[in-house]
């Protein structure tokens, strides 16, 4: 029973770890694609700690990605090694999360979402204007080097950490406090849950992942600019992925990111001119007809149960 739960994850693990060792022509292309998939899945997974478990739709999750990318990029250019840069990125993102949680978590529902979304645009403007530090709108370059394989492994490793963290939190006392806030914040307070502290903790934990992913991203791509790391697509894609897959379940963001990323590739190769509109249409339809996400569809639920991967979300 318990062993069965390791079958699919084990197969995926073997495939991903073994891929760079198999010599075939499209190997680098496949690795690059998967690296981006891991990046989006990691963003969606960490977003969902706040969006799914805590129930606060945070449209500004990508702010931490941008902060991490710029922190690592700037430090890298003055000779700080990657590992130290990534630690600094976590510290910067967590501190920023702690500070913004004070005003933002006084807001509820759509007001919270709108405020966090405005924060993305604010950060973009700040990055544009701090030219001496960020290079402004022309972007920040770091020394180019081929880092395909290490980034591939690092992004995958981080995704695993994000999934394990989500599973652990969903079973912990902290996770239960977060869920009680999602269900009814005023009642949670009446029953002893220190809501402000828990919301701040959730945001800080959630912020660490995009910070590291951002750092790896700049190290991999060698170039970032504000329009990209604080861009609309970057900001909304992880949210859409988590919701489509099934918010509040650890498997949800994984399913959603794989589904949406795969769909985008498929449509892009078939409908060159209309792919944006097609993608939007599918997202709207899926959202309308399965509000619980892919993971809560009956057939998917049954399949997950058979694989031993069904989670308890109540």
């Amino acid at each position: 029973m318990r062993l069965r739960a390791f079958l699919l994850p084990g197969a995926v693990l073997l495939f991903v770890l073994g891929l760079p060792l198999v010599p075939f022509d499209a190997r680098v292309y496949v690795m690059q694609e998967l690296t981006l998939l891991f990046l989006y899945a990691g963003l969606a997974q960490s977003y969902d700690l706040v969006g799914g478990t805590l129930g606060y739709i945070n449209l500004g999750h990508i702010v931490f990605f941008g902060l991490g990318a710029y922190t690592v990029g700037i430090l890298f250019n003055v000779g700080v090694p990657l590992a130290a840069g990534l630690l600094a990125a976590i510290a910067v993102a967590a501190a920023f999360a702690a500070v913004v949680s004070i005003p933002f978590f006084r807001l509820r529902g759509a007001y919270f979402s709108l405020a966090t979304f405005a924060l993305v645009k604010l950060m973009e403007q700040i990055a544009n204007n701090l030219r001496g530090l960020t290079g402004g709108s022309s972007g920040l370059k770091i020394l180019a080097e081929n880092r395909v394989v290490p980034t591939y492994y690092a992004m995958f490793g981080l995704l695993i950490v994000a999934v394990v963290t989500t599973l652990a939190i969903n079973r912990s006392r902290l996770g239960l406090g977060m869920k009680s806030i999602r269900e009814d914040e005023a009642v949670a307070r009446d029953f002893g849950v220190p809501t402000m502290r828990i919301k701040a903790q959730a945001l800080m934990i959630s912020s660490a992942f995009p910070a590291v992913l951002g750092g790896l991203f700049v190290w991999y791509i060698n170039f970032i600019n504000p329009a990209e790391v604080f861009g609309l697509k970057m900001a909304l894609q992880p949210v859409a992925m988590a919701m489509l897959g099934g918010s509040g379940l650890a498997i949800g963001p994984l399913l959603g990111s794989t589904f949406l990323y795969g769909l985008e590739e498929f449509i892009w190769t078939r409908f060159e001119h209309l792919h944006g509109a097609m993608l939007g249409l599918i997202v709207v339809l899926v959202g309308l007809f399965m509000p619980g996400g892919l993971a809560r569809l009956r057939p998917v639920e049954r399949l997950l149960e058979r694989l031993g991967l069904k989670e308890d979300d109540q």
Partner: protein
């Protein structure tokens, strides 16, 4: 109200101790509306006290003030000689005040077990040890007749079971004062009897109870003391039998004409 001294009290007065909670001069205004106006009362340790009054009298607002959900415009609440006003609801809960809601508010998306677990893990001063946790959980669910429904989602429960769940969650915080907001309203006669027994059993275990109720059978059968609110003012306080004959109370419920037909108990 003092006339009832001649009657046999429901419980020997000696069993009831010093006040556990003292409410003094509590007023609450909402944009010109006086929801509460200078409310004073004590609740004796170990007693069951009912608050009754017509709709809109300010009963639930009073609960919200005590639980810390709404700050009063003025006044103080002392709980076991500690001031409660200004404390957050989660702090008040940990001091030993817990509540249920007039229209039930379980965490609908969570299982019965997790509903109670929130209160067990967060509502008490110290997080209980693992072994004690399971034992407490089983004991509480058994006590409110929810054993066997632990894995059910709260939204799947019947109205009666939702009320039981609210009670279970409140008990899990190990309260010294329990605020029950219309726990019995809406139940069938059989269910009412069962719930009254449950409330009595909780009280017998040493928990002081303050309850809001419209069901007179429950008020009369459970209370040592009844407090009557009307338009945000306390118009009467006393033992149940005395309250039932109080002229001001009859007027508040039935209008002036009623006092002419219902003789005063003198």
């Amino acid at each position: 109200m003092t006339d009832s001294l001649s009657r046999a009290p429901l419980k020997p007065a000696a069993a009831r101790g010093a006040p556990l909670i003292s409410v003094r001069g509590i007023s609450k205004r909402f944009a010109g509306l006086r929801a509460l106006n200078g409310i004073d009362f004590d609740v004796a340790q170990g007693s069951i006290t009912s608050i009754i009054g017509p709709n809109g009298a300010g009963k639930t607002t009073l609960f919200n003030v005590i639980a810390g959900d709404e700050p009063p415009t003025s006044g103080t609440v002392m709980f076991d000689e500690r001031p409660l006003i200004g404390l957050a609801p989660n702090e008040i809960c940990r001091l030993g005040v817990s509540r249920t809601y007039q229209s039930v508010r379980p965490f609908f998306g969570l299982s019965v077990r997790n509903n109670v677990l929130v209160a067990l893990l967060y509502g008490r001063r110290a997080v209980p040890a693992r072994g004690e946790l399971d034992e407490r959980m089983a004991g509480i669910l058994e006590f409110v007749h929810l054993a066997g429904k632990a894995e059910r989602r709260a939204e799947q429960l019947t109205p009666l079971d939702r009320k039981r769940l609210e009670l279970a969650r409140a008990l899990a915080t190990e309260p010294r004062l329990l605020l029950l907001d219309e726990l019995i309203a809406g139940l069938t006669p059989t269910e009412t009897g069962e719930m009254m027994d449950t409330v009595r059993a909780i009280n017998a275990s040493g928990v002081t109870i303050l309850l809001i109720e419209h069901v007179m059978k429950a008020v009369m059968g459970l209370s040592h003391t009844v407090i009557v609110l009307h338009h945000g003012e306390k118009i009467a306080e006393g033992e149940p039998q005395a309250i039932a004959r109080d002229q001001a109370v009859i007027r508040a419920y039935l209008g002036d004409a009623a006092t002419a037909v219902i003789p005063a108990d003198t």
